[in-house]
Amino acid sequence: MAKSSIKSEKFIELIMILCSLISVLTTIGIILVLSIDTVKFFSEVSFFDFITDPQWTPLFEDKHFGILPLLAGTILTTLIATLLAVPIGVSIAVYLNEYASKKFTATVKPILEILAAVPTVVYGFFALQFVTPLLQTFIPSLAGFNALSPGLVMGIMIIPYITSLSEDALSAVPKSLREASYGLGASKLQTAFKVMVPAASSGIIVSIILAISRALGETMIVAIAAGQQPNLTLNPLESVETITTYIVQVSMGDVPQASLEYRTIFAAGITLFAFTFLLNNISFWIQKKYQNRYD
């Protein structure tokens, strides 16, 4: 009897190891696939050109392989999203934690999280068909495909990521800090922004970084509403192409596999991967360093 229970214990352990291996192996596989074609790509295109050429036209006669225009598009849309989402997201978190009643928080938080559950293709059409025409009534020179509208919509999409994690960080701040602040005669607003937010800052920063890396990798919204024109600009009113949009464009089109044109998507993909990998590591590092400050 005892023997068999040990056996089944071992068996379950094995299954769990296998499950965790699947995700690890997938990651390694992705990195390998990306690297192999990227190495082939850089055997034909110089790395220096890749990071300095201001033009990206691999599908045309006059080929240029500068990643900068795609990177500019990606960073621009992400920046707009972040600028919108951070103040709103953090304010909501502070409100829910400091001002709102428990009952209100319990109702509003799940509703807010629905925002994260909206399919991104719906957000994309919302940007293209509603937000862009709306913005054009204020800014007549705004192009039909532009960085601003999908950037703003992407900002709305990542608000729940920031709010949710920031709220957790704020509620983890020891009660004694808040009480001490009140005891010194601070107002509610002072307590919230001068005591609670700085105390929870590591958690808030982590939430922001995770939201940024979510925005960097976002595909559908920008593919639908930001346009498909590699454009080295930081002007939000112009049409841009992000790295993700380019990958979609090429993999859905008729570019022959195993050609240089096709390999561009791997080089673009690994650039994106490098950025999100870096951001995730920074957030991991911050979390680790400041985690138990108040224990």
Partner: protein, 333 residues
């Protein structure tokens, strides 16, 4: 729980049975079509009518661009390839290598429409030279404002929208305007999906784009058509049925084709479909915004199809300014 005698579960059984029978409906045969997004509306219209009279034949029409269509065609994956340009030299070689013979059938004329936003009030016409200046490979990152095209036009950004590199429209436009197929600037919004281009130009006051006339006809309320002058002193011509068919809308009118795999052409189903296609292409072409070919061309083409006459009449000819009837006659002699 499952009481088969209750009326409710009986109803469910009936519904399930009905669903399954429609899912697994057996077809008499299948015709696979793929290729150009420009020819798609016509082939789809023909196929819809065809499905009405022969619902037991399954006709599927895909859209992957002329180049993409030929790729599948030459891998023997489809029976018919829609093409908005004749088969290219390299595709011809490929077809000889893989032993895939085809019958080329012109099905309609299409004009390429050059369009601007409805709110654009300064573009009255464009000459071919001005179009060349806008789209030439040398203009990349240099011609970026409207006043560089004509000094009296505003100092506003020139936002271009055009066909993606694997579409026949792209090949035709670049050949007609820049003198060489596939020679174009690369800094514009390029898409194989004409609806993306319509969306782009219609919402961009500084935009200019080109695509098949059919997509203009469907979106007349959102776009403004630009008439074209061959040179400075000639008349500005709008693409209409008449100007496209009589060839006065130059150089942006072109024939559209379907390519039939010669093996598929021996199947009675495909024969029935092609017969139906050529009988109805004229009327349906007008309905979807294209221009019908002269009736004699449809008759000659059908003869050619029945005789399984393979090869392209454009092997050594350009389609720019081509007279289809004469070419077909010459070819069938």
């Amino acid at each position: 729980m499952f009481n088969l005698k209750s009326p409710f579960s009986k109803l469910i059984l009936v519904v399930i049975a009905a669903l399954f029978s429609s899912c697994f409906k057996s077809y008499e045969g299948k015709i696979n079509i793929d290729g150009s997004s420009t020819v798609y509306p016509l082939t789809e219209a023909v196929s819809e009518e065809f499905r009405d009279i022969r619902p037991e034949i399954r006709v599927t029409v895909g859209v992957s661009g002329t180049g993409g269509g030929f790729k599948k065609f030459l891998r023997n994956e489809i029976d018919i390839s829609n093409a908005s340009r004749p088969i290219s030299k390299s595709e011809l070689e490929q077809s000889k290598k893989s032993g895939i013979d085809f019958i080329e059938i012109p099905v309609s004329y299409d004009g390429l429409a050059v369009v601007v936003s409805k709110n654009n009030d300064f573009v009255d016409y464009l000459t071919v030279e001005e179009l060349h200046k806008m789209w030439a490979p040398e203009s990349q990152h240099k011609i970026i404002k409207w006043n560089q095209i004509r000094p009296e036009w505003p100092d506003a950004p020139l936002n271009l929208y055009g066909a993606g590199t694997s579409s026949g429209t792209y090949d035709y436009f670049t050949e007609a305007i820049n003198g060489k197929a596939k020679a174009s600037r690369g800094d514009y919004t390029a898409s194989e999906d004409d609806n993306v281009l319509v969306q782009g130009v219609s919402t961009d006051i500084n935009g200019l784009g080109y695509f098949g006339l059919a997509y203009y006809s469907e979106n007349k309320d959102k776009l403004k058509l630009v008439p074209i002058k061959v040179d400075k002193n000639s008349e500005a011509i709008y693409p209409t049925d008449e100007t496209v068919q009589n060839g006065s809308y130059q150089p942006l009118s072109r024939p559209e084709f379907i390519y039939v795999n010669v093996q598929s052409a021996q199947s009675p189903l495909v024969q029935e479909y092609i017969k139906f296609y050529l009988e109805n292409a004229g009327t349906l072409a007008k309905e979807v915004g294209y221009v019908a070919l002269p009736a004699a061309v449809y008759i000659l083409s059908y003869e050619k199809f029945k005789n399984l006459k393979t090869g392209s009449i454009f092997e050594n000819e350009s389609t720019v300014g081509a007279n289809l009837l004469e070419l077909l006659k010459k070819h069938s002699e």
